[in-house]
């Protein structure tokens, strides 16, 4: 289905490899204006890599990213930053900057080279901090804050950028349950007001509840894509995560809930997956659980 105007963000056939290892393979993703797209997948599936590629921080070897119809790599970095903000997964060391100073950095893409933040910028930063309830520790340096508080400060900075596209890499990873809900509610509200957001979210239930669409990554490829109801089905969850699950509608919230029951190979001998190109000498076949492991000795 072709939409009339260009998607806010579109990634086309992205390929990124480090030496021989493919971290992204022919990945496609699009988010229209006013959509929250959730990236889900197991550890190492390529969620952060994909977000970094979309943010323009990492240059994929194949494919292209389009921001509001323009090719990302033909746009000046500052122009990109004025339209699109990234909330990083690991809040970097902050070297004595206060929370307020860090949030004000979100205004840099909007300032001329000789310009210093003015009253309007201060107001925008203050508002962004009120939204994440971080104004109480505005004057504290970031190294004195807890991981969750710091994460909310970084969300504030992204909001102070006044982006039209917001990328979030596990924005709720360090947050307590209350702030997890507050931050996701906030993102949802901004998306309903017209923001476009792509968020890597670890918690499948939260992803189902807040996102319009989900993209499930596994091994650097898109395994499934669509509505939460379409993507979060036990078979797909098992093939991506290796976990048996039950999916049902939560009577309290009305959204999908996923009960993770047990690892799919539970009760059988643990066998590490054999690498695909068979470098360890066992061929490309997956080791069949239950079969004797003696084969390893024979070659030695």
């Amino acid at each position: 289905m072709q939409t009339e105007r260009a998607a806010s963000i579109r990634a086309d056939e992205l390929g990124f490899r480090v030496e021989a290892k493919a971290l992204l393979e022919r990945v496609r993703l699009h988010a229209d204006q006013g959509q929250l797209v959730g990236l889900i997948g197991p550890n190492g599936a390529g969620k952060s890599t994909l977000l970094r590629a979309i943010a323009g921080v990492l240059r994929p070897q194949e494919g292209a990213v389009w921001l509001e119809g323009e090719a990302l790599d033909s746009m000046p970095a500052k122009e990109v930053a004025a339209r699109m903000a990234l909330v990083p997964q690991v809040a970097p060391a902050t070297h004595g900057f206060t929370a307020r100073e860090l949030v004000l950095m979100g205004r840099y893409p909007h300032l001329g080279r000789f310009e210093i933040e003015g009253a309007a910028d201060e107001a925008i930063a203050r508002e962004a901090m009120e939204l994440t309830e971080t104004e109480a520790f505005a004057e504290r340096t970031l190294d004195t804050l807890s991981g969750g508080e710091r994460q909310r400060v970084f969300v504030s900075r992204a909001l102070a950028q006044q982006p039209r596209v917001l990328l979030l890499d596990e924005p709720t990873a360090n947050l307590d349950v209350l702030h997890k809900l507050r931050v996701l509610d906030l993102v949802r509200r901004l998306v309903d007001e017209g923001l476009t957001a792509v968020a890597a979210i670890h918690d499948l239930g939260m992803a189902a509840r807040y996102c319009d669409r989900l993209v499930l990554l596994s091994g650097g490829r898109v395994l499934a894509e669509g509505t939460p109801e379409g993507v979060l089905v036990p078979d797909i969850i098992e093939s991506a995560f290796g976990v048996k699950s039950a999916v049902y509608r939560d009577p309290a919230t009305g959204s999908l809930a996923i009960s993770l029951i047990e690892p799919a190979d539970n009760g059988r001998a643990y066998a590490p997956p054999v690498s695909v190109n068979g470098r360890n000498g066992h061929g490309a076949d997956r080791h069949v659980p239950g079969e004797p492991v003696e084969t390893r000795r024979r070659s030695g």
Binding site: R52, A55, G56, V57, L58, P76, A77, K78, E79, V80, A81, A82, A85, L86, P88, P92, A93, T94, H95, G96, F97, T98, E101, M105, G106, Y108, P109, L111, R113, I116, E117, E139, T144, Q161
Partner: protein
């Protein structure tokens, strides 16, 4: 409560806006640099009263306020003023380069010497002395020192950028390796040198000093140092973002690769120009931005310009001590800055560690 008043005022200064911190800091440090220079101009083998100094300085800008002796005028004009100006520019260069390196390396322990620039400059100077070129023309030593400083920086940068992928950690380690290697070459030259006179000259130069600096030295160093400082100032905001990490900076609109090369090159040029006229003066680049950061915070738009002024104050004051404490002989300013700077720095480290634990 009375005890809380002082830290509170420092804290509220830290929290004031960029322009407020710049204005207050600029006025205070600007006043200090003028005061230090006036005192320095009046002190020396010929004591010149401060009023006379002021009158002479004012006469440079066309204001004749008082009659002053010809000798006093010459001493100031030809000896003390150029020396103070060289000192001020050297201090400015080292402090600005230090602040820049500390930002780029995301490490408050970095200084201009870290990327080999001082060792490269020293080797260049040592070669020009050992080969006797210094006796042939005046510019030999400064130009050799300058070329050595900049070449060493590019060598270190080249190692860190090998294979097209730049790494800050490799830059740091390459700096250590190149510094060690250049140090060994200098030692080898010193050991093999038959000429005692040249040897003395080398050791003298390695200690870093401002004796008999003249207007030529101002003319060859000032434009490079001021130019490099302006380039760094224009990128001070980008440096704030680079401190958070490459990804962060890129996502906030900084062209990371270009910005880093420009900042490194400017810091190397400034340091190279300073080393070329004064030898290696220790600790100014490390201590000055470090202390200012404690009071002003890490924002480079405040830190860089005020480091420039504070570095000038530091070197001019240290040089004034160096040339007056054991008159008529002279102490080397490079030795003095290390004497004062190193213990002071250790005190600072201990104090900071206590504070960190108290939090």
């Amino acid at each position: 409560m009375r005890e809380a008043a002082r830290p509170l005022s420092v804290r509220s200064f830290r929290q004031s806006g960029v322009s407020a911190r710049l204005a207050v800091g600029g006025v205070l440090l600007g006043g200090l640099v003028l005061l230090t220079s006036l005192i320095s101009l009046s002190l020396g083998p010929v004591d010149i009263p401060v009023e006379h100094v002021a009158a002479i300085v004012l006469s440079f800008v066309g204001l004749d306020v008082a009659e002053v002796g010809r000798t006093e005028q010459l001493v100031i004009e030809q000896i003390r003023l150029p020396r103070i100006l060289v000192g001020a520019f050297v201090g400015m260069a080292l402090a600005v380069a230090g602040a820049t390196m500390q930002g780029l390396f995301r490490n408050p322990m970095a200084d201009p010497g870290i990327i080999g620039v001082s060792a490269g400059g020293a080797l260049g100077a040592v070669i020009s002395i050992a080969t006797g070129l210094t006796g042939l023309f005046f510019l030999a030593l400064p130009s050799f020192a300058f070329v050595g400083a900049v070449a060493a920086t590019f060598l270190v940068y080249g190692i860190a950028a090998v294979g097209g992928h730049f790494s800050m950690a490799t830059l740091l380690l390459a700096g250590v390796a190149v510094n060690a290697f250049l140090g060994a070459v200098i030692s080898a030259i010193i050991i093999l040198l038959p000429d005692n006179e040249a040897l003395r000259e080398i050791l003298f130069w390695l200690a870093g000093g401002l004796d008999s600096r003249a207007w030529e030295h101002v003319h060859i160093s000032a434009p490079l140092i001021v130019g490099a400082t302006v380039v760094i100032l224009l990128r001070a905001r980008d440096l704030n973002l680079l401190m958070l990490g490459d990804d962060e900076a890129q996502a906030l609109g900084v062209r990371v690769g270009v910005t880093r090369v420009v900042l490194l090159a400017a810091a190397a040029l400034a340091t190279g120009a300073a080393v070329a006229v004064s030898g290696t003066i220790a600790f100014v680049g490390l201590v000055t931005p470090h202390i200012l950061r404690l009071v002003l915070g890490p924002d480079h738009r405040v830190l860089i310009p005020l480091s420039a002024i504070a570095g000038a104050v530091f070197v001019v004051a240290a040089d004034t001590f160096a040339r007056t404490i054991i008159q008529p002989a002279e102490f080397r300013v490079g030795v003095l800055t290390a004497f004062v700077g190193a213990p002071f720095f250790v005190l600072l480290l201990i104090r900071n560690k206590r504070q960190a634990h108290a939090l």
